[in-house]
């Protein structure tokens, strides 16, 4: 079972790699594939924390902001630092931030924990807008992301940016799969399902929660850096607001809690939905269906879908897919 899934994952990665030369449109890379990868990684990070370890968080965007700004500041203030060192460095900084904001989670649960993570959301945005040091003294509020150099080679075209994102995502996904199968991953589930029982089994609940916060922070931080450097190519606190945090949460609810592929399925859905809506809306209703309507329609449809999923399939798209493939196996 696990092995066949590994093969499937590898095959999907292969398709994403091999497809590159056949895709001629920059639009597909810029507007779909790159944000898809960044959102997937952020969702993966949140899923480790919320889906596996059961710690609800509404502050994902704040950690993405920390990842983006840490990358920027590391490159700005540490001379000659290569991007490929700054990126994991930013992940580590975000992991530390995750630990700090994870501390309330040692005492709080459920609803109260969710509220306490809102503090991270607002505090981090405030810090980045208030202190110009983080923006390198720039007071405009929007920084253009500097070009990325890897070993003297500038990553600039959409394909290059896409390949960089894909490589990072592949490494982190492999690690995530290993993590959730490891003893630590099993401990996450135990803590999520029953803290007291986990404790009497000899699991250090506090440590496990902090590990989840740190690893989740690392992933979301890297995702934030990819989002800033490879997708929007600007770094601004306003881009990481509460809406964004909710989006990441919606991705894992729709995709499937406690599922690696759920993060990817949910992200794909969320990235593609507005595009489908604008195309479909334009085809059905003519040119009057502008971006304002798309926004509205997206919110309505997303809201309805989330209610439907929570009610009918709390395990999300991932479970739907599993059932579909099971049915197909049964009929063939």
């Amino acid at each position: 079972m696990n092995r066949s899934r590994d093969v499937t994952a590898l095959a999907i990665f292969g398709v994403f790699l091999v497809a590159v030369p056949f895709i001629k449109s920059d639009y597909l890379f810029n507007a779909i594939l790159i944000p898809f990868i960044a959102v997937s990684l952020a969702a993966l990070g949140l899923n480790i924390l919320a889906g596996y370890a059961g710690q609800v968080s509404l502050g994902s965007a704040a950690f993405m902001a920390i990842g983006a700004f840490s990358t920027y500041d590391l490159l700005l203030y540490v001379p000659h630092l290569p991007f490929l060192v700054a990126l994991p460095g930013a992940g580590l900084i975000t992991a530390v931030a995750g630990l700090v904001f994870g501390l309330p989670g040692l005492r709080l649960r459920g609803f109260y924990l969710a509220i306490s993570t809102l503090a991270a959301q607002f505090f981090v945005q405030w810090v980045f807008t208030t202190f110009p040091w983080f923006q390198g003294g720039d007071t405009s509020g929007v920084i253009t992301a500097p070009p990325i150099f890897i070993d003297g080679f500038q990553v600039s075209t959409p394909v290059e940016r896409y390949l960089l994102a894909l490589a990072v995502a592949a490494i982190l996904t492999v690690f995530a799969i290993a993590l959730v199968r490891s003893r630590v991953g099993q401990s996450f589930l135990a803590v999520r399902d029953n803290e007291l029982a986990a404790k009497v089994l000899g699991i250090n609940v506090l440590k496990i929660k902090l590990i989840a916060c740190a690893i989740s922070g690392f992933y979301i931080g890297i995702a934030g850096a990819l989002w800033a450097y490879l997708y929007v190519r600007t770094i601004e606190p306003a881009g990481y607001d509460l809406d964004h945090s909710f989006q990441i949460l919606f991705v894992i609810i729709l995709g499937g809690l406690a599922s690696i592929r759920g993060a990817f399925l949910g992200a794909a859905f969320l990235v593609v939905l507005p595009l489908l809506l604008s195309r479909g809306g334009a085809a059905l209703l003519g040119p009057n269906f502008d971006s304002g309507y798309v926004d509205l329609a997206e919110k309505i449809i997303l809201g309805a879908l989330i209610i439907l999923f929570l009610r009918l399939e709390p395990q999300g798209l991932s479970a739907l897919l599993a059932r579909f493939s099971l049915n197909r196996k049964a009929t063939t």
Binding site: R183, Q186, S187, L189, A190, D193, N194, E195, L196, A197, A198, K199, V200, L201, G202, I203, N204, V205
Partner: protein, 257 residues
């Protein structure tokens, strides 16, 4: 006689703000014993067991007085997960299985605390299936679909995965049909006999507990009311009437009026 495996010295447990749940309780358990802790609802059995496993803080309680000595070491301040590593393992009242994980996954979580290798965990899994064959048949089912008795077996099996020296059991017979409860007690007795597992058992079902235990202690309102070898306790009328339901006819008559 060798030093006891577990020694409780004048333990008192309070819950905030000031509920005294256990007061001045002392007793010792030697290796290889089955000791029963008897008492009515609210007598302090669970509090005492939770004090031993250092689980009181989760319920806003604390050890206000006394010492706990396990295997020659003072352990009042040792966190639960360290106690589990040294073989002091508890099966909580109410089973607390992970209902969405399968039986096998539940059992494997029991090996997490001891940090056993996957090979060791697999061996232990085989042993637990030997002890509880009915779990093996349900290995791939979610624990939530098990009956109460099987869940209790699962909870005990999960604790066995941690390779305990001293197993604390909180009301293993709670809510179980008498036959199932007897099966579980038989299994515990067998583990005690064959593997030398030391057991401290809190029970309301005094008849069964006294049948399997070598010694017993009776808690009443948090204090130790009596204790000793089970044979002696079974010979005492007050114990029989209070805990075995063998009420004298006079009391029954008064109650029925």
């Amino acid at each position: 006689m060798a030093a006891p495996l577990l020694e409780l010295e004048r333990l008192s447990v309070v819950y905030e703000p000031a509920i005294l749940a256990v007061e001045d309780v002392s007793f010792s358990i030697w290796k290889g014993e089955i000791v029963a802790l008897l008492g009515a609802n609210g007598a302090g059995k669970t509090s005492l067991l939770r004090a031993i496993s250092n689980l009181l803080r989760a319920k806003r309680g604390r050890l206000s007085k006394g010492h706990i000595i396990y295997d020659g070491q003072r352990v009042e301040r040792v966190p639960t997960h360290r106690l589990v590593e040294t073989g002091l393992v508890q099966v909580l009242e109410g089973r607390h299985c992970f209902l969405f994980l399968t039986v096998e996954e539940n059992l494997l979580t029991g090996a997490l605390g001891r940090r056993s290798s996957r090979g060791d965990a697999k061996d232990d899994l085989g042993r637990v299936y030997e002890v509880f064959p009915s779990l093996k048949a349900k290995a791939k089912q979610p624990a939530g679909l098990l009956s109460g008795g099987q869940q209790q077996m699962l909870a005990i099996g999960r604790a066995l995965m941690a390779r305990p020296n001293l197993l604390l059991l909180d009301e293993p017979s709670m809510g179980l049909a008498p036959l199932l409860a007897a099966e579980i007690f038989e299994t515990l007795a067998k583990l005690n006999r064959d593997d030398g597992l030391t057991i401290l058992l809190a029970e309301q079902n005094a008849a069964s507990a006294l049948h399997y235990a070598s010694r017993a202690f009776v808690l009443e309102n948090g204090r130790l009311a009596s204790g000793g070898p089970t044979a002696d306790l079974l010979a005492r009328d007050d114990i029989l009437s209070a805990y075995l339901g063998l009420v004298s006819e006079k009391i029954v008559e008064t109650a029925s009026i």
